[in-house]
Subunit: 543 residues, 2 copies
Amino acid sequence: MRGLMQSSSINLVSLLEHASRWHGNQEVVSNTVEGGMHRQTYRETWQRTAQLGNALAELGVKKGDRIGTMAWNTYRHLESWFAIMGRGAVAHTLNPRLFPEQLIYIVNHAEDQIILVDLTFVPLIQALADKLPTLKHVIVMTGPEHMPDDLPDNWHCYESLLEGRAQSCEWEQVDGDDASSLCYTSGTTGNPKGVLYSHISNVLHAYGATSKDAMNVGSADRVMMVVPMFHANSWGLAFGLPMVGARMVMPGPHMDGASMAAMLNDERCNFAAAVPTVWSMLLDHLRSTGGSLPDLKEVVIGGSAAPRSMIEAFDKEFDVAVLHAWGMTEMSPLGTVNRVSGSMPLPAGPDEAYDLSCKQGRVPFGVDMEIVDDDHNTLPHDGQTFGRLLVRGPWIVERYYGETESALDENGWFDTGDIATIDEYGFMNITDRAKDVIKSGGEWISSADLENAAIAHPDVALAACIGATHPKWDERPVLLVQMAEGKNLDAGSILTLLAEQFARWQLPDAILPVDSIPLTATGKIDKKPLRAEYQNYLLDNPS
Amino acid sequence: MRGLMQSSSINLVSLLEHASRWHGNQEVVSNTVEGGMHRQTYRETWQRTAQLGNALAELGVKKGDRIGTMAWNTYRHLESWFAIMGRGAVAHTLNPRLFPEQLIYIVNHAEDQIILVDLTFVPLIQALADKLPTLKHVIVMTGPEHMPDDLPDNWHCYESLLEGRAQSCEWEQVDGDDASSLCYTSGTTGNPKGVLYSHISNVLHAYGATSKDAMNVGSADRVMMVVPMFHANSWGLAFGLPMVGARMVMPGPHMDGASMAAMLNDERCNFAAAVPTVWSMLLDHLRSTGGSLPDLKEVVIGGSAAPRSMIEAFDKEFDVAVLHAWGMTEMSPLGTVNRVSGSMPLPAGPDEAYDLSCKQGRVPFGVDMEIVDDDHNTLPHDGQTFGRLLVRGPWIVERYYGETESALDENGWFDTGDIATIDEYGFMNITDRAKDVIKSGGEWISSADLENAAIAHPDVALAACIGATHPKWDERPVLLVQMAEGKNLDAGSILTLLAEQFARWQLPDAILPVDSIPLTATGKIDKKPLRAEYQNYLLDNPS
């Protein structure tokens, strides 16, 4: 027996329509690619989105077509998403930080028909264009006064396309399960894999992400959406903020400390979301200029783990609370947010509170998680035992785009590839990537914990820990360190520091200097070349 | 092209599973039918729900079966909902305040197989049972020590059914569009009509109802859920509170002022939801005993309009903010909640704030609304113009249970039967029921506005205004008043009071005393008999 409600009326374009109808005067503020601030309301955003929707129809966009975007967070990128999805097409975000070969693979795998591109990335798309056989049109997201010369005929000016068109649009009929958007993950091995979101999965995600124990945003909030729409969907804020009618503030390409501080204060943002590197730049800028953040109350930090020193700095120096969050492209992306739960004792003091803040947090309804050992046995939620982190729920991937096989195990769980603990109040703490955890004589040692402890040493710039093959213990930790400018390795002092936090059997068997720790295209430590070089170090250099 | 996410994993039983897994120690507190407070955790609630789910399977409950409940808000009613829906069956709430003929019609129309009933209503179901041919079993929601004697063999004791059963259950596979629950509306004309909710419509509704601009509840909130589960689904709180892990406090049958005050204060509730009559009893009790509400911060008032005097009393006397809300069974039920919007100027002072609070409020994402005239033309959102209030969205009815025709107009709108204004910030204000609005010479006069103004007169107990037939103006207002105990009608002083708020052409042509204003089964004014008596009053008594 089926319910008799209007459930099929759910679709993503209605989020922006809602913002236009019920929060029509609310502002969408963008720092532009061309320079200068741009302000428009949700109502104007909706009208311009309709104009773009009409233009896309004329360019032949049909339901289910994949349409790429390579752009910073601005009003035009926002309009593009909603216009593409409103046409029933699939908005495919391209991450400009990927290697050209990965981009070519991704665009061709998705068979993108059109790419909307910011001025910044015009040279990049120009260089790739003749390797993209499905690409019919490129739309440059700028006005005619900024259009580069000598572009081919199938390159269009965004503002010229909108000019004079109707400000309402007959949107395509979609139902909740229709595909809305596509984002590829860039793993360190194999080809990128596409996650194909649906209208309903994104709507549910937006509700969960904005809920009180997660980001807790409403129409009175002024939110700086720093995390890029091309990187894990701006953590759902591009949908969540119109959903609740919050003021949207977007940095465009300007994510340096000075620009961030100016926007946060000029727009009186009380909430913001970004990755740790952006926040580092902001903190550095504020300290060097003696700046403050009078309106900012909370920041969400995700993408990679927020160092405890950053959490403390925000609180002690700027009176801003840090909400640690965790997710992944396969999870739309939100998995957990760290807010104190109502059914737990409050932390006894600031130190306990900071300890708690370092964990990745709790799940909203819509995400379930579990930790298991290598034999798939469920492990206790005691905050100590760590295991492979599994997730499931309506906004988590079922299978990758173009694949016929499910990405899930037989119980419907998706393996995140992370190793984590969960405590009795539901706080999850990632201790390592599964491929990085060191399996020493049947016990697991977290490579990430050792790395984090090592970089607290003032002379260490970066650290990477691998499990080197050991004749007796299978694997033992070897710590590779990139020293700070002008510093030399003193392994003894690093070991002394580590011994304060780790049991003797968890300490590395060797600490070795390297000139530079290799990084992936998205700025994460790439352990592959290090493993190639140091895997047999302990066999070759027995102690 | 379909999205490739796990969207089909949405179902309602997972709400309680989520609460059990992630807010397992959070309490569910009930004032019981038998007497005394009962406390259990979400984890225990989930285990008991599984036991009931196993019992229902043994009683032969199959996917799609309709299972009735006639019960107060207690842990057993909560368990019953989730167990029924977890079995893939349809939880059909029966309102004990309906007339027996309506109940017989409803149970037979729904073809309920089982009814779970509180001790309070055992005599009622006993009296009806032989007119309910589909009814196979009755489950009395109590322990063996309280079971009435001499019940037939197919009447079971709830606690005895649970006893010794497994605390986990193989729940039925459902998808989002499967029916979950059923509630009949009790109009004043025609047979009651059933609204058949789905798993997805209720999940979306729970997200919307708990969102920051709506009820704004999270795991740290302690919520008194007074509004009955049998009356418009407890405004979604039976789903919303487990969704966010809030403490649930339920009054059972004890909704008198003294019991309410004790529970609110003993359980340190900061939030509560109830209809105006319950709040009246609470305010009376607190005033007569000199009581206070130290923990309560916000109350949601809906079901019928909250008088301004009540909104002021909560604020001035008890420092509690009133959130006016509006909805209907056909809307799951939540339509609007009155919270100041972030994109509007704040009210200039307390009087403006109270004026604003008297409106029914704004829509969360998931509800769209419009006002139209009799020719379906859209009317301006200026806070002045009133028209028929239309709604649409994923948790709004598409068609009634058993009907083949849509309940919507050709644009997908559902006509609420209310007359309302909408202001430029989206605040909706109901001015009348469509059938009650008085059409005088082409202009509309709100009967409800006249009634509300009249009951502000100290001598008036109740007032009902009808549109009496008039030879020149088609209809003119006639105000019927039930005087307070021992008071006699002074029409002049009422007219003087009304003249402060209404234009001359809006004032009633006659003010007449009646012994008692007739009420419907659910306590609303029933104008049908009044119209029968007074429709021709102005023709028979020309002025």
